[in-house]
Symmetry: C2
Subunit: 325 residues, 2 copies
Amino acid sequence: MSEDDDALMVRAAWFYYVGGLNQEMTAARLGLTRARVNKMLAEARESGLVSISIDHRRVGVLPLEDRLRTRFGLDFCISTPAFGFHDTSKQDSEVRKQIAFRAVGVAAANHLKTLLSENDSLTVGTGWGRTIEQMTLHLAGVRAPHARFISIMGSLTANNAYNPFEVVHSLARRTGGEGYFLPVPFIADSVDDKKVLISQRSVVKALEIARSASVCFISAGELTEESLLRRQGMISGTELESLRQAGAVGDTNGIFFDSEGRQVDHELNERTIALGFEELKALPVLLLIAGLEKIQAARALLRSGVVNGLIIDGDAAEALAALGE
Amino acid sequence: MSEDDDALMVRAAWFYYVGGLNQEMTAARLGLTRARVNKMLAEARESGLVSISIDHRRVGVLPLEDRLRTRFGLDFCISTPAFGFHDTSKQDSEVRKQIAFRAVGVAAANHLKTLLSENDSLTVGTGWGRTIEQMTLHLAGVRAPHARFISIMGSLTANNAYNPFEVVHSLARRTGGEGYFLPVPFIADSVDDKKVLISQRSVVKALEIARSASVCFISAGELTEESLLRRQGMISGTELESLRQAGAVGDTNGIFFDSEGRQVDHELNERTIALGFEELKALPVLLLIAGLEKIQAARALLRSGVVNGLIIDGDAAEALAALGE
DNA sequence: TTGACAGCGTTACATTTGTCAACTTAAAAT
DNA sequence: ATTTTAAGTTGACAAATGTAACGCTGTCAA
C-alpha cells in the first residue's frame, strides 16, 4: 500500500508541478477527489518528495556574512535572507521558528549538496534537531553512493523525525549512501552506565567512524523550558536548573557549555554519549543556527573554537552581529 | 538594473517558497505590490531561477519503458508519466506540446544531473529545440566546473531561447562549466558555402570537441508545416516538399532521414552543418522525444542505430509502442 | 518638444487552492 | 458481531492566486 501510495504521490506531483495541471485536472486524471490530491501534494512537499530549489548563486556574499565570518574566525558563513520578524506576536513564535528551521535547512542542504557533488566519497557526521531534520528533507537530487552518514551522538527514545537515527537514515536514503548511528541512548542514566554503553563493540566502531568524519553538521540548543531537549524530556526541570547554576548557556549534541564555549563541569556532561569538544576540534564542524532563541548559545559555541563554518538565518545573523563582543 | 532585479527575484522567491509567506506578505516585506510579486514569482519559475524537482527514484521502471528499450536495443529508456491527453481539442494542442516539452525537459535534466555528478569531467554535446531548451531550464543546483558543453550543430539566425548558442550558454552558466558552439549558420546557403564555413579554424576546433563528446543530447523534428524548422524559416515550403519526395520523415539537427533512419539523398543534407549520422554512431547519443507529432521521426531515428538512450513523454511512449514494427 | 512605449501601481474580478465539518466505507480491533 | 479507527468523499466556504483593465510616470528617439 505504502509503495502504491508513494507512486500515486509521484504521479500527482508530476501532473501538478511538471505538467502544470491544476488540482482538479490532476484529481480527474488519477481518479481521485481534489481534496485528496490537495493533501497528497502538501504531503509530497512536506516529506521532501518534491523540493523547490533556488539558484542562489546569483546573490553575492552579504556584508553581514563577512562580518560574522571574520569576527569568529570562520572559514565561511552563509546567511539566509532576513525575514524581518520584529512585529510578531507571541502566538506566531512557533511559525516563525518553523520558517527559520526550514530556511536554514534549505541552505544547509544546498551546502551539503555541493560538498557531496565535489567529493566522491565523504563521511558526514550529523547532530540532531529540527534544523538538521529540515536539512535532510530538502536534500534532493543528489546521488552519492560512496557517501557515509554517521550520527555523532546517541539516539532519542521517542522516535521523532529529528532523531539521529531518522536523520542518518533519511540522508542515506536520499543520496543512496550508507547510514550509521550509535545504537545507544543519547544521555545515559549514570556515568557507570555510560561506560558500559560506549564499550559495546558496535558503539566503539561507530564512534571510530564518527571521529573520522570529513565534515560535521551540528546545531545548538538553548537552555530554557522551551528547548527541545527539555520538551523531549531528555533532561528534567531540576537538571536544567542545576546546569544553569553551573554556568551553562546552551548545548550541542547534549554537551553543555558556558558563555565562553567551555564545557561546564556538570555530571550531565559525563553522561552524554556524543563526540566531545576536543574530538570536534579535530574535525571541520559546521554549525546551523535557526531562530533568535539560539543566539546566546551560538555566540558561546562560536567562541569555543570548535566551529569552522556557520549557516544561520538572516534574522538571527543580524541579532548575533548586534550582540556585544 | 538587471542585477538588482535578479536579486529582488531571489529574495522574493526565498520569502515565498522557502519562508512560506504568501504573496501579500512577501510584497509587504519587499515594498512591492502583490501583483508585481506574483509576476516576479512566475518569471522566477519560468526562467528556472527556482525549480521544483521530484524524487523520481521512488518509482520503479515502467514495463513500457522496458519494452521500448528492448525493442530498439537501447541502453536505457526513461518515460515521463503519461498525461493522457486524448480528449483534447485542437486549440489546446500548443498547451499539450508545451507540457510534453517541459516533462521531457525535466526528465532529461535529471538524467544529465546524475551524469554530471557521477563524472567529474564530462563533455556534453547538445542539439537544439524546445525540449532541449526545457532541459536547460530545469537543470539547477549542480556544480560541474570541469564540464564542457558543446553544440553539435550550427546556430539559428533568430536568437531564440532554443538556439544552440543559448542552450550551451545556459548549461554552462548553470553548472559553472564551459560552453562552446559553432559560430556558423545551421544550414549553409550552398554546398560550396558550407565548405568555406566548416574550414574555418574555430569551427574545425569546435567540431573536434563535438566529436569527442562523452554524451550527446539530441531531439527530433517532424517534417510538416508546423515543425519548428519550418516555422523558423530555416527551410522553405518548397524545400519541405522536395524533402518529402526524397522520402524524408523527420530530421535531427537539420539532418533529414527516411522512415528507416537513413540519411536521405537530398541537397539540404549536404548543406547542413552538424555532426552526421556516422559521427553520431561513434558517440553515446540520447534522444529526447516530446509530443505525439514526433513519433514517426522517433521510430525512424531509433531504427537508424545512432541512438543509445531514449527519454520520452508517457503519451508518446504509448503511441510509439502501439506503432507497428 | 512630443509622442510612443515600457514598467509599474491600483483596483477589480475570476479562478484556484486550502480547509473544515458531516457523512460513508473499509479495515482492524475487541 | 460489534465497536473503533483510519481514510476517503462530498459540499461548502474562506483565503490565496492569477489576470486584466486603466492610468501614471519616466525614457528614448524622432
